[in-house]
């Protein structure tokens, strides 16, 4: 870990201003991802801006009938919120499928969105990795890629976004709210928030340097059966091989997003028209452009079968 300076801010505006004043700065929320990366010097901020005291720890109703989730709301609290459990159960379930109780007590809403990939080569600074060291190559592509992306990857990188919460937020059409140093706010739909790796795998979202997340808003509830099914190599405390977040209406229509398949939560709205026709019809379209490696081709069958399970469960 490199030495750094530290400050604590008490408003969102101050956070954005502090970041603008210090190009080497990073925000620190729960620290559960950032600190690990700093110990390995994969992240090496020269200055930390502690944003835990910004007062953004509330969940409030919006005028549109939805919910506004403050950026500092802990994963545990969000999952337990009665409104979330009642109106957005897919979000609650996704959160509870992630990490461990201890981690969820620390992890924040914004930090979860911005957690970085779990590609093992990204974590080993002796190895080539375009995401960690742009231009150094990709160790995973000719190495071990069992966990990695099957769709939306590039020649530079096939990492996945490892999160669960963001998959549910994507299927719920959530919107990320931000503010910058000039006080300008932005509302970024989840669909646009995370980017594909392309030639710049080091870029993972559309956030600009110093732009600060204040909240995530959920639109008014859409009802339906809401299911999150996460498949992994052990029963708990592991990242998804594949996960499915689905909202299924009584008539069989609905929405579905996949985790574990791509550099972002993977949702193809056109494919959702196939939902009444079953899992295979949906994945055939949603994953039509898949380009798996030998190691991870199983994710295609697994995604289809997991969706089939979810659709069967929704009918019960």
């Amino acid at each position: 870990m490199k030495p750094f300076t530290y400050e604590r801010v008490s408003t969102a505006a101050a956070a954005a201003a502090a970041a603008a004043a210090n190009p080497g700065a990073k925000f620190i929320a729960g620290g559960t991802n950032l600190l690990d990366l700093m110990k390995l010097e994969i992240e090496a901020p020269t200055h930390l801006i502690d944003v835990n005291a910004t007062g953004l720890d509330k969940i409030e109703p919006t005028a549109e009938g939805g919910l506004r989730i403050g950026a500092m709301v802990r994963n545990t609290d969000l999952a337990a919120d009665v409104r979330v459990r009642r109106d957005y159960p897919v979000l609650s379930r996704a959160l509870l499928a992630g990490a461990s109780g201890q981690l969820r007590n620390k992890a924040t809403t914004s930090g979860n969105l911005l957690q970085r990939t779990r590609c093992p080569y990204f974590y080993d600074t002796n190895m080539p990795c375009n995401k960690r060291a742009p231009g150094s190559g990709c160790g995973a592509m000719d190495g071990i890629s069992r966990q990695l992306a099957v769709i939306g990857g590039s020649d530079a990188c096939i990492a996945t976004h490892p999160g669960d919460m963001p998959v549910a937020m994507r299927v719920l059409d959530a919107v990320v709210e931000t503010v910058d140093a000039a006080g300008k706010t932005r509302s970024i739909p989840m669909a646009d928030f995370h980017t594909l790796p392309g030639d710049t795998p080091e870029v993972e979202t559309v956030l600009k340097q110093g732009e600060f997340i204040t909240a995530v808003t959920l639109p008014a509830p859409v009802g339906g059966r809401q299911i999150y099914h996460k498949v992994r190599d052990r029963a708990s405390y592991a990242f998804a091989l594949v996960s499915v977040a689905a909202i299924v209406q009584p008539d069989g229509t609905g929405r579905v997003a996949f985790g574990g398949l791509a550099h972002k939560p993977w949702r193809v709205e056109e494919a959702e028209t196939e939902m009444p026709n079953g899992a295979r019809a949906v994945t055939a379209r949603a994953l039509a452009d898949a380009d798996p490696t030998g190691d991870n081709a199983y994710k295609l069958s697994l995604a289809e079968r997991t969706l089939a399970l979810v659709l069967a469960e929704a009918k019960e």
Binding site: P120, R146, V231, R234, R305, T306, A308, L309
Partner: protein, 730 residues
Amino acid sequence: MKFDRPATTNPSDRMAVLGQPHTRIDGKLKTTGTAAYAYERHDAVEGQLYGYPLGAGIARGHVLAMDTREAEAAPGVVTVVTTLQMEKLPQDDRNIVRLFGGPEIVHYHQAIAVVVAETFEQARAAANMIRVTYDEDTSEIYNLAEKREMVEDQDIQTHTNVGDFHTAFGQAEVKLDATYVTPPQTHVMMEPHASIAHWTDGRLRVWTSSQMIDWHRQALATTFSLDPEAVHVESPFIGGGFGGKLFLRADAVLAALGAKKAGRPVKVALPRPMVINNTTHRAETIQHIRIGATKEGKITAIFHDCVSNTPPGGAGEDATNQTRYFYAGEHRLIVNRLAQVRLPESNSMRAPGEAAGLMALEVAMDEMAEKLGMDPVEFRIANDTQVVPENPSQKFSQRRFVECLRHGAETFGWTNPKPMSQRDGDWLIGHGMSGAYRGAPAQPSGARVRLQPNGRLIVETDMTDIGTGSYTILAQTAAEMTGLPMDRIEMRLGNSSFPVSSGSGGQFGAASSTAGLYAACVALRAMIAERMQADPDTLDFRDGQVIDGARSLPLSGFASEGEMVAEDKIEFGDFRSKEYKLATFAAHFVETRVNAYTGEIRLQRMLSVCDAGRILNPVTARSQVIGGMTMGVGSALMEKLDVDDKRGFFVNHDLAGYEVPVHLDIPQQEVIFLTGDDPVSTPLKAKGVGELGISGVAAAVANAIHNATGVRVRDFPITLDKFIDRLPPV
């Protein structure tokens, strides 16, 4: 004391304390965080500095240059030791690859430097500032399947060639010919390798985490060209070992080098990735098994060929061992091959040999039973043997495998259901079973007992407690032998100034170290008998008294003039291995569910029935077995080091990437010990159970998965990617 014939009745048979379910005497220290592990020995010596290791960033080649200027100038840094500053250090025979010194790199994360600083953070930051230039050799082949074909490079050991396997197999009515793969695995014990080292007047003191105190002492003496007497090693508490802490590792070497250069004590813990790539692992195996039998299920021919990876000079993982002893059959061919693969060092991990071997053999037995249309329990019973099949004059001292099978089948409610015959909604249900075999070796072991004037007894031996319960069973042994209550026994372990013991390994620790302490206690009793001018065999030690007929004297009285000290060592005669074969046995039964859609596996219940001689303490023994069963579930379902074939290293080198079971993976576990004792084993008639618990478990899980799904996976671990496309369509 020489143990050169089977035990007869002796004072340990009273079993007033031994055999009783005593909870761990060190339990409170562990659960309250007051048991100080090596890295936490702040009390040991003043002025400790922190050393942070640097591992090589390549798997093979040479270090051309190391620029340490920035690191040396960094805040808090006291000194930097690099591999280029010295020749390769002298190497102990038990270490296969070098631990430190010289420019040559033979595996990834080989230690190449240690930075010593005032704080941990300073040392870690500075270690990252060292710039290393390598000349990398990328020609090496790391893939075992490829190396398996390169027979000319292999060390081939034919263990058994009796009868005429090829003819018998050719003529067999029912045959199996299958190949199984078990992956490389890592011990990932909770406590990483850690040491504090301190030099005074040319003497080296090391507080470390070691299963084998004397091996560490000797290896340190060799490494630093010291008289073993000038080396002192302490390791009273160990946060798990599983074979990973048998041998001296880089943490102690780096701490000693750093301390020497800094002139102050230095502590070093290996970061988790170095625990995995710097130390040892269980080798990968590819095992070819062929079994031929009559239609009635009598095995006539058996063949087991194993190839595993090792650096030159090592022993890999000989997964064929149990096949020599477990099942009958006249024609036998058993071959072990060592393929030279220059990955990090492969070496012992819990039940070396059998753990991997039974993963293959016991699935093969299941496949064979299926081909025969036989119940796999009955198939095993039909091929039980009471003598060593390749040498029928050697008989098992005690072998109640059939009893394990029958008792287990009854307790579990085994019905041998047909594959894919049980279902509950989206879940396919399967039952599976396996047998387990693990040798019961014993090693010389010494101990000293010191009777105090206040009536307490101090026990000293360099035996270690790696979480197994040594403290407790040794205290029970001393209490049984002296008639003192448990709370009068003061245990002192893991210190090189105590008599050399067996140490903890190979499932020999409990049996050997209690036998060594028994010998010391017998010596103490003899001294007391002499003072009483009585026959030691007629003396009765109970309730703090020594009773000779009508005469009863308080034991403490014998130390009233000063402590009374007795020391002895048990040595085992070769009758134990020449006339007899000593082993432990078990039968495992498992029920699992497999999701019909996703292939997710959820175990429902597990049962082990064990035949392991006298059980010295049913609580600690059970803990050993359920721990082994849990590790067996890991082997079955998830544990695997991913080898990057191109770059020659284990990729998943942290606990996020190398998955072991979590609570939710482990169902109800039941353990039954058959009662009885084995007088051929030790004076206490005990054997080990620590490795028996893992042996065979993974195969039972695999067989249950097959029973649920109809799919056979011969490549461990059984992750769903390997069979999702073979599940019935949904």
